[in-house]
């Protein structure tokens, strides 16, 4: 059975939430593409370059413009009290708190991965260890990104109870 939630979000904030989620997911997906490509014996540097750059930009949008604004102006006063008063307050105190802080790692990791690829380009194939490091860093972005996304779904669901 689906229940209507009582919180009304303005259209403006709804757009910010949508941009935050979609840009974050796109960023994770693009770095997933970086991982799969970087692990090939003959990677496509066109894909590595553009996926890493667009992935970094997507994560920056998710962090700053959309997610940050939504979190600072809306989550604290409208969502957090509901979760804290619910049967599962740990969804805020553990899941959301972890999510909002671990997410901060991602832009720096994304920037570094992008930099390794852009500064080396095709010569990365002659540096297999560096190429693999870029792949591992990108995999960490994907792993943390997936965890953060799932956390977001749990938080939204709990707030709607």
């Amino acid at each position: 059975m689906l229940y209507r939630i009582k919180i009304k979000m303005s259209a403006f904030l709804s757009i910010f939430l949508i941009v935050h989620v979609i840009s974050g997911v796109v960023g994770i997906f693009l770095f997933g593409g970086v991982v799969l490509n970087a692990l090939k014996q003959k990677p496509s540097f066109k894909i590595l370059k553009w996926f890493s750059l667009l992935g970094f930009l997507a994560l920056m949008v998710s962090w700053t413009i959309s997610g940050g604004y939504y979190y600072v102006t809306y989550y604290g006063k409208a969502i957090k009290p509901i979760i804290q008063a619910s049967a599962t307050p740990w969804v805020h105190s553990v899941i959301m708190e972890t999510k909002e802080h671990i997410f901060l790692f991602l832009p720096f990791l994304a920037f570094l991965s992008m930099l390794i690829i852009w500064l080396n380009k095709e010569s990365l194939i002659e540096k297999p260890r560096l190429k693999n490091m870029a792949a591992i860093i990108s995999f960490l972005i994907v792993f943390i990104g997936i965890a953060v996304s799932l956390a977001g779904i749990l938080i939204s669901g709990t707030a709607s109870r």
Binding site: W63, T64, T98, H101, I102, F111, L119
Partner: protein, 108 residues
């Protein structure tokens, strides 16, 4: 750009990222254990999370810049070592943050 400069940039940014991850972990745990710190972040930046975001970017930039100025040549071996340290710092930092919040919420 020469290969030596490219290597130095990557090395410096890797160090910047290590410093940022350590800072984020430390300020996250520190601000919850020492509430005046959280209060200070809120007063200066209007929200503690904005403060953590801004300061982590400052730490990242400053560390990368200083490493660029003061470090010598960055060999492939040095870069790979720094990246390994970064990977472990991220893993341990993540575990520390989630462990801390589990302890604070459920076990404290």
């Amino acid at each position: 750009m020469t290969d030596a400069n490219k290597s130095k940039i990557i090395y410096s940014v890797a160090f910047g990222a290590i410093a940022a991850v350590i800072f984020i972990t430390a300020v996250t745990i520190g601000a919850d254990l020492y509430l005046p710190l959280k209060g200070w972040l809120k007063n200066v930046f209007s929200h503690h999370w904005v403060g953590k975001s801004v300061l982590s970017a400052v730490v990242f930039g400053a560390t990368a810049f200083l490493t660029m100025i003061f470090s010598g040549q960055a060999s492939e071996e040095k870069i790979n070592k720094a990246l390994k340290v970064l990977i472990w710092t991220v893993i341990l930092g993540s575990l520390a943050i989630i462990g801390f919040f589990i302890w604070e919420a459920l076990l404290k």
